[in-house]
């Protein structure tokens, strides 16, 4: 089995995730895109570990999973909180963090 196939799959998954984040307005969907990118990266990492014959990539993949889990907790909480106050899950509506010198 050619390890290159895993890397190609990882690239496809990453691209799909990135595109999802860029084109979809729904925060949940965009979030799913982010998760897909992270998992694509994990796949690439374990593949590299296999290629190099050591555990560095796998260790890093574990770290990514832990961080992703934490990130999901915080991120989903934020999305729910925003939805409760603004009745919208569109990330384009959440655009207050910008120059307010001329709010017009």
């Amino acid at each position: 089995m050619n390890l290159m196939n895993y890397l190609v799959l990882s690239t496809i998954l990453f691209s799909v995730g990135a595109t999802t984040v860029l084109v979809r307005r729904n925060a949940i969907i965009a979030f799913m895109g982010v998760e897909m990118m992270l998992n694509a990266t994990n796949l690439a990492l374990v593949t590299f570990a296999r290629i190099n014959g050591n555990l560095h990539g796998q260790v890093l993949a574990f770290f990514v999973m832990v961080v992703a889990a934490a990130e999901v907790v915080v991120g989903l909480a934020i999305i729910v909180a925003i939805y409760r106050t603004r009745r919208s899950a569109s990330i384009d509506d959440v655009n207050l963090l910008k120059d307010v010198r001329d709010p017009a």
Binding site: I91, D92, N95, L97, D99
Partner: protein, 685 residues
Amino acid sequence: MTTLTLFAAVPGAEAAETVKATGPASAALWLILLPALSAALLLLLGRRADRWGHLLGVVAPVASCVLGFVIAIQLLGLDSSERLQHVDVGSWIDAGALNLRFGLLVDPLSVTFVMLITFVGSLIHIYSVAYMEHDINRRRFFAYLNLFVAAMLTLVLADSFLLLFFGWEGVGLASYLLIGFWNHEVDHGHKVGGATAMENSVASKKAFVANRVGDLGMIVAMGLLFAQLGTVAFHGRPGTHEAGVFDLVGHGDLSTAMATGIGLMLLLAACGKSAQFPLQSWLGDAMAGPTPVSALIHAATMVTAGVYLVVRSQPLFDQAPNARLVVAIVGAVTLLYGAIVGCAKDDIKKALAASTMSQIGYMMLAAGLGPVGYAIAIVHLVGHGFFKAGMFLGAGSVMHAMDDEVNMRKFGNLGRRMMFTYVTFGMGWLAIIGFPGLTGFFTKDSIIEAAFSSNAYEQSWQPYVFGTVTMVGAALTAFYMSRLFFMTFEGRARWEPGTHPHESPRLMTWPMVVLAVGSLGFGAFFGKMPWSHWNGRLSDWLAPSVGHPHEHATPVVAWPIITFGTMILVGLALWLAWTRFGSRAAQVPREAPPASPLVVAARKDLYQDEVNNGLLVIPGTYATRALVFTDGVVVDGAVRGVARGAVAVGDQARRPQTGFVRQYAATMAIGVVVLIIIVLAAQII
């Protein structure tokens, strides 16, 4: 071998040793403390002391005078090797390498000054009680006068350059306060020559600033001494192995070049304080102060501090013949300068001020002559203290009688109305012009003789130049003083209508009488006789301080030619002044008539203010304006430019911050792609 190297060799061999003070001399600190405490009390109590403040103000200098007299008698009874007494008061500044003790040097030179300051000062204090009677700030006036006396005594009793400088600044402060004493329009009864309060304030500031220029020289000189020798004390403390500046200089620890530099810096300081060329311009304006101030500070004592400084620093100047020559040149220039200005002034006080400048020029010249001149400079200084203070008090008495008029063209024929003033002023006048037998005859003649002395110079032609200058100066002195005297007391009355001249009260006339007696007899008793090789009593007394009683002038011209030549010149000048200003036939216009360019220039102080303005004030003003402009445009501009730049950068950096998360994500993605391309491209290349 020149005579100069001989001189240079002498002082080291005879370096004077100070001894610990004994008896009354150990109480010398009280000389300073009495007037200082009185000044502090009068200033702190304020108006509460108004009723009796002037009495305390008189008692303090009189008490100092008595103590000074006791110390002088004590020193007279001691062997001359024990006359350099040192009072160690305590540690003053102890900072690392600089360990300076506060001490007083009680020696013949300082005691001479103590006697002059406290005696003439006491008389002037007494005079001021009456002179300032109608001034509601009389208490403050006496406080300042006492402050001056305390500072001046600190100056002359100091045992180090730094303590001397402390007193030096103190007298400068007192001078400033007293010149501008009438700086309020409302609260004084006097107006001097119609001068306004503003003009008085400006005059005091001018004196202050001119003095600061000189002080710079003093500070530099002290810095050089400290850097070179590690001390600024005059002598080492008795009983220790410390060495003072003069001890070290005597042992040749200072190179000639450095000694010359220090000497010139000290001369600059002396020029500022003593109104010598080129820092002379403040003295004429200083006459804005009350007349007793002019008599005490700007005639008898403070302005002579420069001469004191040069004479006190004698071991330094012995080491630097070139610096000494410059001192003599400055003295000669000022001597003629003051005399020329004095010939044209119509303001009685300003004419006397020009005369003071000129007489101090004599002293400076004498001090610049070296060992032959130090003592006679002090002799002339003390004699001058008597007759000039007396004449200033006389001028004050005249102004008192003439409703504070100072223009001599509006005086005339006052002699009949004010006998005391007339006679006492006359004594001072005869004394200063060198009338045979009076003080000036002995004190000034010995300076002229010393100026003609070949052993004071390196070049053989120098005695003729300096000697001639002093003789011409003597003739000019006779002319301007006689002009002043005749315009005031003789000739026709040219009074303003409504003035009723009257003699001043006794409190004012008696001090004048005492000073007139001093003008009469001081020179004959203390001075040097022209025909004698003996230097006179005061010179002998000063010998332990200034050294070389055996050094006397060896004039290149025989003494009768000098003495009688000077007398003939003085007589001619006197006759000229009499025909033009004194006799009944003389016409003295009440307005200054048009005159030759020289007279016009002299009336304007030989354009000293114009020169100062042109050389210093106007360029200085432009320089400060340029600096203000530079500060505003370049420095502030740079600061504001940085701020503006930051704002502009911020404006640009803000634009991408739109708030759309997806846009940020796209930017990041593009950035990552670009980075990858760059990295790959770098690897390929």
